[in-house]
Symmetry: C2
Subunit: 184 residues, 2 copies
């Protein structure tokens, strides 16, 4: 069923996505779909929640830079895959509040799973003790999403590596060790 | 007319946005709108293109950190304004290819206008000669868009300042001076 949602979304976009088209594609009676998922938002939310329910672990290459480079290669691959399943899901999240919340949960889960990358870097002495994982990880990955998802420009060569390297340099200089600073 | 597009978008969302509702709100005959803008995508593209056609200049506070803090305060204000006009426009860009291209042009224009921020920092010796403006500016601003637009979580205190500070530390350490690195 969720494969049918993804396939419909990639092939025909959100505008053509209905419980009926998904049910037809999956060969399931529409009332079954309505009973379990209620609407398109519920189907999309389940796609995101299922995507997070796996055994994914972050790369462990032996260095912070290596881990972030490998992580960004994964992000880049997801955002440029053909057919553009990830991009279609992100776009759909702007249509359905339920899907948006599910995408938020998915990202929170992925960033939480990546925290060992930062803990290992602290243990190796690559970044100062007290370096906070979440802002470091977002600093390393956000430029890719910004360029590819929001500005929708092709990834310039070196974008993923540049973002990973600048996050490491900032972290090494203590950018992410401060307690929550006042936003002034 | 473009004010009518923005108002309709904020109040009723993209799904309710039609040439007819915009024409009615603006008190203009629908055929006039169709002749000039063709469709909703054309109207939205014009909203973005008009937004870029102003006298906006980046902050000039006397330091790179000061400039980026002020810039991020502006980004934060735009992304959290009520009614959420900027967020509505970004969401709409996921519905219309024409609007998406116009939003891309708008961002490119804004980042280009911000390049003096980096040139001044190089001249003051705050960052190494050869520091590239675009990746530095994206590093400073992308975490805000990532959290607020894509992950759709409220801005945690200090988010804007943290992103500005980490970009400055990375830039000072030479993160953005390299010629385009290979993405490996």
């Amino acid at each position: 069923m969720l494969d049918a949602v993804r396939a419909e979304l990639v092939e025909h976009g959100y505008d053509a996505l209905t419980v009926d088209t998904v049910a037809a594609r999956a060969g399931v009676h529409r009332t079954t779909v309505y009973r379990r998922w209620r609407d398109v938002g519920g189907l999309l939310a389940d796609v995101f929640d299922t995507a997070g329910d796996d055994t994914w672990r972050p790369p462990d290459t032996g260095s912070l830079l290596g881990d972030l480079l490998a992580l960004n290669d994964e992000v880049l691959a997801a955002l440029t895959e053909r057919p553009p399943a990830t991009m279609a899901l992100i776009a759909a999240s702007f249509r359905s509040e339920e899907a948006a919340r599910a995408l938020g949960r998915f990202w929170e889960d992925r960033y939480a799973r990546c925290e060992p990358v930062v803990r290992r870097a602290v243990a190796r002495g690559e970044v100062p003790a007290g370096t906070r994982a979440r802002p470091l990880l977002i600093s390393a990955t956000a430029p890719l999403y910004h360029r590819l998802v929001l500005m929708r420009v092709p990834a310039e060569p070196g974008l993923a590596a540049l973002a990973a390297r600048s996050a490491v340099l900032a972290a090494s200089a203590g950018a992410f060790t401060a307690p929550e600073p006042g936003d002034t």
